[in-house]
């Protein structure tokens, strides 16, 4: 998915950042090392006398992959995220992306077709009307951003596992991958895709999902950090191939479970 990196407009729906400079690395300073603590810590982590930043980054990524496994082990497919009363919903709900709100992609509702691919029996595309006809549920859950802040929102849509069942997805596959209108992408583990609260979302707070929150469809999963919840989803694929994602490819932990 290298094309995503070439598309500066394609960015996280959900990773949310009012101030992109805060999140994005300075290209001259891509490496993770900063501050006086680096050298001692590095020497320790790499076991090398001669320390270079690339090898430290390599070791840190290895540990991050280990942490993917640790979180998958900790993930309980039957454990539900806490839910809240309607009065707890944050209104207005914070918009977050590293593009300004007016740059959110505009998806035409009549042209929209959700593409479904990979290890599924039925690869037909879905129009918005067909999607809206699916059974829907509402959840009031907490979105936790990788930055640390959180907000409670109200999302309505179809459990992803119900949709995956209908398209005949191979539940033994490892991943479900999402591609978004802006060029954003992310991928999740199958147990999370099948979690009862993982939802193809069509409404926010009772109204059709507005553009800023991901029209026409986002995928909401309270068991993962906000940036794992893609907006403006155009395509999903069930796959055994690790495809990473926009932020994941830049160093954010892939599993990022809550």
């Amino acid at each position: 998915m290298s094309r995503i990196r070439k598309n500066p407009a394609g960015v996280d729906p959900e990773l949310l950042v009012k101030d992109s400079a805060k999140l994005m690395p300075d290209p001259t300073r891509r490496l993770f090392l900063r501050g006086g603590a680096s050298l001692g810590a590095l020497a320790f982590l790499t076991g090398c006398d001669i320390v270079d930043s690339a090898s430290a980054e390599h070791v840190l990524m290895k540990i991050s992959y280990f942490n993917d496994g640790a979180q998958a082990w900790l993930f309980n497919p039957n454990k539900l995220a806490p839910t809240y009363p309607d009065s707890a919903v944050r209104r207005p709900f914070p918009f977050n992306a590293y593009y300004p709100e007016e740059d959110a992609p505009e998806v035409d509702k009549d042209d929209y077709k959700l593409e479904v691919g990979g290890m599924v029996d039925n690869k037909k595309s879905w129009t918005l009307d067909e999607l809206y006809a699916l059974p829907q549920e509402t959840q009031i859950t907490r979105l936790v951003c990788v930055e640390g802040w959180s907000a409670i929102g109200k999302w309505t849509g179809t459990p992803l596992r119900e949709f995956l069942r209908r398209v005949g997805a191979d539940a033994r596959a490892k991943y479900v991958w999402f591609r978004c209108a802006e060029g954003y992408s992310t991928s999740i583990d199958m147990p999370t895709a099948l979690h009862p609260q993982t939802q193809m979302t069509f409404k926010f707070d009772g109204a059709i999902l507005p553009r800023k929150y991901g029209f026409p469809m986002k995928v909401r999963m309270p068991t993962k950090l906000g940036f794992k919840n893609p907006k403006h989803v155009m395509e999903m694929a069930v796959t055994d191939k690790y495809l990473g994602g926009y932020w994941e490819d830049q160093g954010y932990n892939w599993f990022s479970g809550n």
Binding site: F32, R34, F44, N67, P82, R142, G148
Partner: protein
Amino acid sequence: MSIGATHDQALTPAAPTGAIVHPLWVRLTHWTNAVAMVVMIGSGWEIYNASPLFPFVFPRGITLGGWLAGALLWHFAAMWLLAVNGLVYLLLGIATGRFRRKLVPIRPGEVLADARAAFIGKLAHDDLSVYNAVQKLLYLGVIVAGIVIVLSGLAIWKPVQLQELTAAFGGYDAARYVHFFAMAVIVAFLVIHVVMALLVPKSLRAMITGR
């Protein structure tokens, strides 16, 4: 040997030559913890900066990671070191009786008297194997802060899978504040601890060589 020894530690003569003040496991876990803490604090400050709880941020020059993703990689790597090493330290501290011998009892009167003596420069450090009341309070306090920072960190990291723990801290947002204040306590301890080690260099030597 002192005949009138009243303290079990007094069987080790004051300022001995050759007596072990800190056994090897204490020294190993101490320095491992020092590395882990520095990495956790430096990367934690960078993570804090992404969504500050208070109207200030930490200067970039003293944070670790360069940007949020880098800081998170450091934080979630060093957490294993901090937690496993901390657990080993706690288990050995209890099993060997070291905590019981060295850190308790703490009597408020002694703390006040020793604190007063320390401020006027009259608190003796002749026998490194015996902690004064202020030391006991600080060492026990930082152990408690260490436990709190690990638990509150888990509560923030896994507010769904460990939601009972998160609820025990008063919810996700409250746990972030607890995590921050536990950090502040540890950093305050660290400042005092390093200053004291420099003022009493033989204590630093003892933590390296054991004697």
